[in-house]
């Protein structure tokens, strides 16, 4: 495969698509699928055939506004329809060439206007099972360019200069990690993609893997070229069967096109990828635990150092990055580091995908430049909390993160700002809560999660989270005293300071952040034996120990 050949494929696909008068894109991502988008697609195809109109009907990945599904977009006009029932399929086909179907059109300008799509640029535009669709939108161009025109060190430098930071949550500079692995001594190195999206309330990685799988593969191939690896693994949750299937198809197609395998683009570079299934353990999102799991062992973390960059999978230097991190690589190489560096805030560059859910009008997948305020995300893009309710807090970072209250909504979203506010960026789950949510109950929910997900290797996490859970249950139940609260704070500090891995070290965050901003709710439960949100049934909250 050469650049010319790649461009020829792109031109061919473009020409073939251009032969259709209309292209109808139907979102078949999980949320739209659960609204019945598959039958909408079939009905559209049947209607198109009946009328004899020259229409291409394409199934795509997530278009974003999941609460308005099933989403359908008619190109070239770009008419966006929402909540499309199967019965309207004929009407849509009929309207082609004349005015759009008014009652299905949606006004989501506010929702889309402040978004910038880099990672999601193809999501909703390509058929994820067709490699040529990806190539048509400049796919694999970065890889071919890098292999034929760049040195590995150039790729590392571009990524470093772009200022990309790890999108899995920690925010470690990606370029620095790549440079460490590229300098590590060893003839065999591995590249791993962490697709073990275990945070409850996060589904960005799933949507990327399902909607644009080749983007992840291309990012991994570029990483492998940069650090000198020839084998890659994508570790995906078994709970995401569609993502597994799409990735498997994508790998097969990429091999067929000669974009994975031996001597890619007639260069000495050889790289192949295998999918590895997770098996339902949150701790496997931690890199050393993930490596243990790929090795076929129990997913328990190891003390670091040595870091995986030096001694990882089968004790070889290993590069581990998150799905979204890899998804950013191809555009960086294609458009140059400066283009990426110009987006975002001072120390957090680029864009970030967030999964917006909870008590908010427009739930779904959004991508925004870093530095955007929480208010803009929640009020403008998300459309605010449901009518008649007041916003209380937004939870970021899942079980490792925290809750940010209403008075801090003007906070710009960046790694450092969120950390300073007592939460973390996390992988990108953003769950909005209103006056119907009890913050103590939320803290208890997350601590229960960490308790059951603790691997049990180190005592602070294994026993600490269990004791935290018991204390929080007591508080929810109206049985606790102020001493219990002090004990809880004490315990949080201990667990945070002494746990072995990220799971334990961050498990107290939901408690500490809610205590910081919503201490009155804790006091209300303890002193007045009352839950204002009406969530905790005082006297009936049961302790469930797994």
């Amino acid at each position: 495969m050469t650049l010319e050949e790649l461009e020829q494929i792109a031109r061919d696909v473009h020409r073939e698509n251009g032969e259709f008068d209309y292209q109808i894109n139907v979102c078949t991502d999980l949320a739209c699928a659960s609204h019945g988008s598959d039958s909408v697609r079939e009905a559209l195809a049947a209607a198109a055939q009946a009328t004899g109109k020259n229409v291409l009907i394409r199934k795509t990945g997530c278009m974003g506004p999941c609460s308005s599904g099933p989403m359908v977009r008619v190109d070239p006009a770009g008419t966006l329809y929402h909540r499309v029932p199967t019965s309207s399929a004929a009407k849509i086909i009929e309207s082609l060439g004349s005015a759009p179907v008014a009652e299905l059109q949606c006004d989501l300008n506010d929702h889309f206007d402040s978004q910038v799509r880099v990672v999601l640029e193809n999501s909703g535009y390509i058929d994820p099972e067709k490699i040529d669709d990806y190539i048509e939108r400049d796919g694999y161009k970065a890889l071919v360019q890098a292999l034929t025109e760049m040195e590995p060190a150039d790729v590392v430098r571009e990524v470093t200069e772009a200022g990309l930071r790890g999108r899995g949550g920690g925010g470690y500079p990606t370029g620095l990690k790549w440079s460490t692995v590229s300098k590590a001594v060893g003839d065999i190195k591995y590249v791993i993609c962490n697709g073990d999206e275990g945070d409850p309330g996060a589904f960005m990685d799933r949507s990327v893997m399902e909607g644009d799988p080749h983007r992840v593969l291309e990012g991994m191939a570029l990483a492998a070229f940069a650090v000198g690896a020839s084998q890659g693994y994508i570790y995906v949750r078994a709970e995401y069967p569609v993502a597994v299937a799409r990735l498997t198809t994508a790998i097969r197609e990429a091999r067929r096109r000669g974009l994975l395998g031996s001597n890619i683009c007639n260069t000495p570079f050889t790289f192949d990828v295998e999918v590895r299934l997770g098996a339902g353990a949150f701790v496997c999102g931690e890199e050393t635990a993930l490596i243990a799991s790929i090795e076929g062992k129990r997913g328990t973390p190891k003390p670091r150092p040595p870091y995986p960059a030096v001694s990882g999978l089968w004790r070889k230097p290993t590069l581990i990055n998150n799905v979204e991190t890899y998804a950013n690589i191809a555009p960086i190489i294609r458009n140059g580091s400066k283009w990426f560096h110009d987006m975002g805030s001072e120390r957090s560059k680029g864009t970030k995908v967030f999964a917006l859910s909870g008590r908010i009008r427009n739930t779904g997948l959004i991508e925004v430049p870093l530095g955007i305020t929480l208010r803009e995300i929640i009020d403008r893009i998300g459309g605010g909390v449901p009518e008649g309710h007041t916003f209380k807090a937004v939870q970021t970072g899942g079980p490792s993160g925290g809750c940010i209250p209403a008075e801090m909504l003007n906070l710009g979203v960046s790694y450092d700002a969120l950390l300073a506010a007592g939460s973390i960026m996390g992988s990108g789950g953003m769950i909005v809560m209103d006056d119907t949510s009890c913050m103590v109950s939320i803290a208890r929910f997350f601590v229960e999660f960490c308790m059951t997900e603790s691997c049990g290797k180190c005592i602070p996490c294994r026993a600490g989270t269990a004791q935290m859970y018991r204390l929080l249950t007591k508080i929810c139940n109206g049985e606790a005293t102020m001493e219990d609260l002090n004990l809880l704070v004490d315990l949080c500090e201990t667990v945070k300071e002494t746990s072995l891995c990220g799971l334990g070290m961050t498990a107290p965050n939901p408690v500490l952040s809610t205590l910081k901003y919503f201490r009155n709710e804790y006091i209300d439960h303890i002193v007045n034996k009352r839950c204002t949100a009406g969530v905790c049934k005082i006297g009936q909250v049961e302790e469930v120990m797994a």
Binding site: L30, A31, A33, S34, H35, C66, S67, E197, G198, D199, P200, G201, A202, F203, R206, S207, A238, E239, Y240, R276, L277, G278, A279, G280, A281, F282, S293, I294, E295, G296, K297, R298, G299, A355, L356, S357, G358, R359, T363, G364, L365, Q395, G398, G429, I431, M433, S437, I442, F445, F446, F449, E453, C455
Partner: protein, 166 residues
């Protein structure tokens, strides 16, 4: 030194063992294929029983304790056969905020079992999931794997009733 003989015979002449053997062969019967193989056992048989663990452990030459440890470590693997139908209620954060707790309680009450259990007649298993990634449609349930969103108590009970009268 242990001398390894031929590959052990499968626990039964069930044809599904061929699929399991296929996975092991594809991975060169390497030890690191343990989790992959267990996935195949679970997807072929619906669960992983002691005979299966013993067979896989011997075939891949990993200690039985190691194999058992792996099976019990990961939530995805089940040691018990599932019911004819499985209702999975998502208990992720977004679902939690939108009242999944009530749904779980209602389902438990209706089926007279706890989450993670199967009804005595073997008809329905009630499971909870940590998050299926359909948060935008919370609360979410999976009826035999098919996702439904914004589920009400009535819809949940109606689904269970449909299965019960089958």
């Amino acid at each position: 030194m242990t001398v390894y003989g031929a590959a052990p015979a499968p626990p039964s002449d069930d044809k599904r063992w061929r699929i399991v053997n296929g996975t092991m062969r594809k991975n060169g019967s390497a030890r690191h294929a343990l989790i992959e193989t267990l996935h195949t056992v679970q997807s072929s048989f619906g669960y992983i029983d002691n005979d299966a663990i013993r067979f896989v452990a011997r075939s891949l030459r990993v200690p039985l304790s190691h194999a058992y440890g792996v099976v019990t470590f990961y939530h995805y693997f089940s040691l018990k056969p599932p019911g004819k139908h499985t209702l999975t209620i998502c208990a992720g954060t977004a679902c939690h905020i939108k009242g999944t707790g009530t749904l779980i309680a209602e389902a438990e009450k209706y089926l007279c079992i706890q989450q993670g259990q199967t009804t005595a007649d073997g008809k329905i298993s009630l499971m909870t999931a940590r998050c299926v990634g359909a948060c935008s449609r919370a609360p979410v349930i999976l009826a035999d794997g098919a996702v439904s969103g914004e589920v009400s108590r009535e819809e949940l009970i109606a689904q269970l009733e449909r299965w019960a009268v089958e």
